[in-house]
Amino acid sequence: MADLQVNIAGVTFGNPLIAASGTFGFGREFAQFYPLSTLGGVACKGLTLRERAGNPPPRIAETPGGMLNSVGLQNPGVEHFIREDLPWLREQGTAVIANIAGNTPEEYCKMAERLSEAEVDMVELNISCPNVKQGGAAFGTSCESAAAVTAAVRRYCKKPLMVKLSPNVTDIGEIAAAVEGAGADALSMINTLTGMRIDLRTRRPILKNNTGGLSGPALLPVALRMVWQASSRVKIPVVGLGGISTWRDVVEMLLAGASAVQIGTVLFSDPYAPVKILEGLEAYLNENEIPAVSELTGKVKPW
């Protein structure tokens, strides 16, 4: 039997499948389908310092092979999470990643400080959410601001710190290197690409926010390329995501340079996707006599 365990920045995940932030809530809804210990980890819905109402609806639009969302970080705030959601989630036998977003470096730092005292395994810094008018998008799209917020949070964060990169950039390798240099323990990538759809009848954008973040299978080749580019620039582990929907996509992502993966949008068409992907992954490892999933990481041989 192949060893599915992976270690990211000192945190052990029972297997390399992690639920992507914002697609899995705080886990409760999916616990009716299977034990959350099926997953190596859960990245919680993005948290802000205080409760956030999120954007007005419509927040969802379909696209060919993907979807747009403009949820806009609706969440109950970090304190509520620690009090109401974390204790339950902590008991589910899966690693817990707190995903945080802020409007200022100070907000990020306060959250990191607060979460450092809480029972989370890892902090994921969302410097890439394109739905927040101020802050979010800006941090992740320049080396300077990405490095600055990472360095600031690093000082307050006692947990392993993973920085989640935005794909809406010219040179992902440069940003990855800057974030590593500023003290990140791991990278996760990619967040959503900004997109738009228009309703022919009303001639208005389908999303009330006008634009939203593209996720789902359509994104996969871009994610693979970026994970490959970034992982060849940094020494810290990379968690790969964006459009994964099958075990084959997982293997591609690992070969491209990821040490673990996250899955998001596929959960909406098939809530049981994690179970199926894991089965496929195990069978693949066993058939090919690969003793440990971690051996796949970065094994692509470029031409």
């Binding site: 899995f24 809804e29 616990a31 389908f33 007005p56 609806p57 927040r59 299978p217 959960l267």
Partner: protein
């Protein structure tokens, strides 16, 4: 633990009950056993990223089937309309809260607009002769489910936009004279807003079934937001989890 079906279910019957309106009976015993009036299912459409939410129109626990009536609106519902008896369909159901029917000896008014009518059928049944349906349709050939409602004992009043069937005009025009203790409504937002206002004026409880674009259908993605009135001000609730049925008084009727 597992409380929804996602397994492949089988289409048992299909009929086009009006041009572009389809009536599907699906075999799905577990979902049928758990379902209640006003809940919905998420239909997987091969090749599409997102499932399509369709309300449960009828529940037959004895036969383990659910009935769905839907209108072709775009590619997804078109694909569903092409499914035939004997073919499998993957649905996630039952989802949402459903109607809280309360005391079925009350005089219940059901208000439906177009494709908003089907979700009301199963809710009307227990009220029998205490139910009145006021339904509005585009025109004569878009009138659906009239007989189904009548066979539950329900009185039906129909309005059409062009006057080709029943009364010409809006659903609201049908009920001026009616006395009722509770309202259940489903249809376009302006209609829901108007009936909510009327119910409030009469001091009668009113429950509305709402629509919003969905991704997960189970409350995890926070996609299907609807603005609600809370103790500490307005907030976004979610159609798939907190609804689709809402007490009309809690809904913030904007625009």
């Amino acid at each position: 633990m597992k409380s929804y079906d996602t397994a492949a279910c089988e289409i048992l019957k299909k009929a086009e009950i009006a041009p572009g309106f389809f009536d599907l009976t699906v075999s799905c015993a577990e979902a049928a056993r758990k379902a209640r009036a006003g809940q919905f299912a998420q239909f997987l459409v091969p090749g599409k990223t997102l499932r399509r939410p369709i309300s449960i129109c009828g529940i037959d626990r004895a036969n383990g089937t659910l009935r769905f009536v839907f209108q072709v609106r775009g590619e997804g519902t078109r694909a569903l309309s092409l499914l035939n008896p004997g073919e499998p369909v993957n649905l996630l159901a039952p989802l949402g809260n459903g109607f809280d029917l309360g005391d079925t000896s009350r005089r219940a008014l059901f208000v439906g607009g177009g494709i908003g009518v089907p979700p009301l059928l199963e809710a009307a049944k227990p009220f029998g002769k205490n139910a009145v349906l006021a339904a509005g349709f585009r025109s004569r050939d878009a009138v659906i489910l009239k007989d189904d409602f009548e066979s539950t004992g329900c009185e039906t009043r129909i309005a059409t936009d062009d006057g080709s069937f029943g009364r010409r005009g809006l659903v609201l025009d049908l009920i001026g004279d009616l006395a009722f203790d509770v309202v259940f409504a489903c249809g376009p937002k302006p209609m829901l807003r108007a009936i909510a206002k009327l119910a409030a004026e009469r001091g009668v409880p009113c429950y509305v079934s709402m629509e919003e674009r969905m991704a997960c259908g189970i409350g995890a993605c926070l996609g299907c937001a609807v603005k609600l009135r809370g103790e500490n001000g307005d907030y976004f609730g979610h159609v798939c989890k907190d609804g689709p049925v809402f007490d009309a008084e809690t809904v913030v009727w904007e625009e």
